[in-house]
């Protein structure tokens, strides 16, 4: 077997050094009655050329946006990743390294994390960021746990317009920890209902979570949301950013009064990958940095006073504090963080803004094209690269799109019974004007 270097002669010599006769002797500490009697119920080994064909066959039994322009977003957006990203990720020094516990021989990873933290703090308008979380959904859950530690209250008000899967993960994480999770409705324009929010506030509320943009693609008036929170025990405001590209164009949550920003940065150079691995993040104000979950890198110096980077504030973490840690997270999404760092360096401030602007423009074009065919937006508030419309039947819309070689939108009725016939469509830089026109004609022709 090509991954196993030991030859029969090696084995003989190693057994000699150990003083054992057979390899099986080394397992003597496993009681006989617990040993597996036969082989594992698995197929025989497959040679590499054959196996590669098998995986190619599996891969082409899927129909991806490669051959079908993708109007499906809902938390995963089809963006282009410049070629250098994957080439650099393939450097074994990055992808076959462990968590940088020995900083003297991991400065590459550590410096990249420091750069990522800096860029994410800047993009979100915050002071500090951590080195990644699993994904956007788990970042919302971690934000809730963090807000509870800071504020002490146990009620979280989450906008109903936050991604449904994120809200579900939030409930899973907090279920047995004495939290109350309450939803704040959206108004007729698709934005968070401020009056309802004010009515729901009480001193036990530690966190208010609003999507930016929200699940309907709607850009929230986050300043107004922040303004609605008041009092001595006022809750923290958390912005949930499921489409990180929007940060290039929309006022950063930190400048709108948010206390923490969490979400999903997969759009920064990572593949759709059928749902993972993705790139959760959380950033916050300096005052709350000791409550952050996960890995954090800090700048320091070495014995020769040269700049270097280390994992820091580790007394928050499970390997030091065990059950008193701020989170149980250990392995996070290191290589995804590196991809995002390379992506942001490649795009630069101008490239990222241009790309965000093009996403906005495509979505506005699609919106207008649909309107011209009689398909109206569901909500009146402005949107970024995604928006909701009303169609006669979401299921029919998706089927019709597929038959026309398009990947259609997301059926809002699935998670929002009150929005039956609601259809969420996204347009990134990867869909053409022509594809938008085709989709509009097709949806306009449905009855």
């Amino acid at each position: 077997m090509r991954y196993l270097p030991a030859s029969e002669e090696d084995i003989r010599q190693m057994l000699g050094a150990i003083g054992a006769e057979r390899v099986s002797d080394l397992f003597a500490s496993i009681p006989e009655d617990l040993r597996l009697k036969g082989p594992l119920d698995l197929p025989e080994a497959v040679a590499e050329p054959v196996l590669r064909e098998r995986f190619v066959t599996r891969s082409i039994r899927n129909s991806s946006p490669t051959c079908r322009p993708c109007f499906l977003g809902a938390g995963a957006y089809d963006h282009y990743a410049p070629a250098p990203i994957d080439q650099l990720l393939m450097r074994a020094e990055f992808y076959t390294a462990y968590t940088p516990y020995q900083p003297e021989m991991a400065q590459g990873t550590l410096q990249a994390i420091f750069e990522f933290q800096t860029m994410m703090a800047d993009l979100t308008g915050m002071d500090v960021s951590n080195a990644s979380l699993y994904d956007g959904a788990s970042s919302v859950a971690e934000a809730a746990l963090m807000a509870h530690r800071i504020h002490r209250g146990s009620t979280v008000l989450v906008a109903r317009s936050v991604h449904p899967a994120y809200r579900e993960v939030l409930r899973t994480y907090t279920k047995h920890l004495g939290f109350t999770i309450a939803e704040v409705p959206y108004g007729a324009d698709g934005r968070l209902d401020l009056a309802a929010l004010k009515g729901a506030l009480n001193p036990d509320v530690c966190l208010v979570l609003a999507g930016q943009p929200n699940f309907f693609g709607v850009v929230e008036d986050l300043k107004a949301v922040a303004g609605a929170l008041e009092g001595d025990k006022k809750p923290l405001l958390g912005a949930v950013v499921a489409e990180a590209l929007s940060l290039a164009l929309i006022e950063p949550p930190g400048a709108c009064g948010a206390d923490m920003v969490c979400g999903e940065a997969r759009s920064f150079g990572l593949p759709l990958g059928y749902g993972g691995p993705y790139l959760g993040f959380i950033s916050t104000r300096q005052a709350h940095m000791r409550q952050l979950p996960g890995r954090i890198v800090g700048e320091t110096v070495d014995a020769d006073n040269r700049r270097g980077f280390v994992l820091t504030l580790t007394t928050r973490e499970q390997h030091i504090r065990r059950e008193k840690a701020t989170s149980n997270i250990c392995s996070n999404e290191g290589l995804c963080m590196l991809a995002a760092t390379i992506y942001l360096a490649s795009m630069g401030r101008k490239g990222l803004r241009d790309l965000a602007l093009q996403n906005l423009s495509k979505a506005e074009y699609l919106k207008a094209a649909l309107r011209a065919k009689g398909i109206q937006p569901l909500f009146g508030a402005p949107t970024f690269n995604e928006f909701a419309v009303r169609v006669p039947s979401a299921e029919k819309a998706t089927d019709a799109a597929y038959k026309a070689d398009l990947l259609g939108g997301y059926d809002l009725g699935r998670e929002y019974p009150e929005l039956e016939g609601g259809y969420l469509l996204c347009a990134t830089e990867r869909v053409s004007k022509l594809a938008c026109d085709r989709l509009a004609a097709l949806l306009g022709g449905l009855s």
């Binding site: 006022e251 989170s327 490649s346 402005p382």
Partner: protein, 484 residues
Amino acid sequence: MSRPIEEKLLFEKDHPGRVGASVPPSDVPEVDPRTLFGDMVRGAAPAFLPEMSEVDVVRHFTRLSTYNYAVDFGLYPLGSCTMKYNPKINEEVARLEGFARLHPLQPESTTQGALELMATLQNALCAITGMDACTLQPAAGAHGEFTGVQLIRAYLENQGDARKVMLIPDSAHGTNPASAHFSGYAVEQIQSGPDGCVDLEALKARMKPDVAAIMLTVPNTLGIFEKNIAQICRILHANGSQVYVDGANLNALMGITRPGDWGADVMHINLHKTFSTPHGGGGPGAGPVACKAHLEPYLPRPVLAKKEGRYLWDRDRPKSIGKVLGFNGNFLVLVRALCYIETMGADGLKRASELAVLNANYMRSKLRPLLELGFDGPTLHEVVFCDKGLPGGVTTLDLAKRLIDYGFHPPTVYFPLIVHGALMIEPTETEPREEMDRFVEAVAAIVKEAEENPAYVKAAPHNAYRRRLDEVAAARNPRLTYKP
């Protein structure tokens, strides 16, 4: 190259006017965001997104990469981390566009290849662990622990009482108590006996109705197989409690013995350890959870199902603990893991475990004249030494840092906590004998140096890109972002 280049930070390389990626020309009219968003338009451009050419970017990260150590360089003997070789074919197949560019919410009719792959992996993991059901949703080991403990909790609650206490040995990873805590359980530590195993009498005495479960790593972090594991399972079950197995050390057991056959109820599997997917400098991993049939109704939703020859996501799972991740798990990690399993086959996986144990015992026997064992007793895939007898006042940390000068990544140090100055060594099956010999020679040389010139060892590393870094200063005055 004689000396690595001192690479600046991205922000110090900002060169306005350069571009590192091409945004395609737009074929639709440009919209003015101000007219749409009003004062919600971003005011200041992000100052710390640098402007660089593609060449600048590629050189920057290539230079950074040279400061890292990696499995592809050599032995990476981190105990309980299973830093085995990451096969190249895995990387290739995970990048096929039909996987990499698949949207997580596409209709199942358009993702049958991906779903078949996931079902095949679930079945393989059940076969390897002796379990009945499996979820691939958890994104990492600790995430799997959390999921598994939630399953236990939901099951016990359904029986009428979620109970209060999670028993965890003192040799456990920190993630175990943290995962139990975030599931609402009080953690109670149980002491290891003199043989490094659970003290059965003490365990029996602790069996009261408040015990929800025990979390055991098998083999444990000393590399010792919990010889009474079957009896432990019976003791817990007789008390109405459950048994969680942390599969971090599954690499010792494939094809040899199965947690499901011991009586364990639920376990997680680290695909980035046992199943060769890369650690990526801190993830992404994947932490599937396998369980017995009685816990199956509680698995995170949606659950993969098959109807009339077609795979689909079953969302109608009323007893489910709910989702633990936004989408379908770290799918591209799952692709790599299945590629490894199918490469190895049943015999290859068993051989991998056998050779992992052989390698660890070889290192143990070669290092024994140089270092003192933490626990004396047979060990499997890893071995733990202690700092007793290190000459010249040299500590475990000093030895670790000096190993860097010899071109090795140090072992896991100061863990498990029950061994003083622990050095935890796991070579894995993919290390050639001569690489392990080279490591042993390095340790021998350092021990000799410690006798002759301890000050030099204590100041190590001397040849790395950086000398010892001031972690205390970093924590005291945290600088977490770049300030010009």
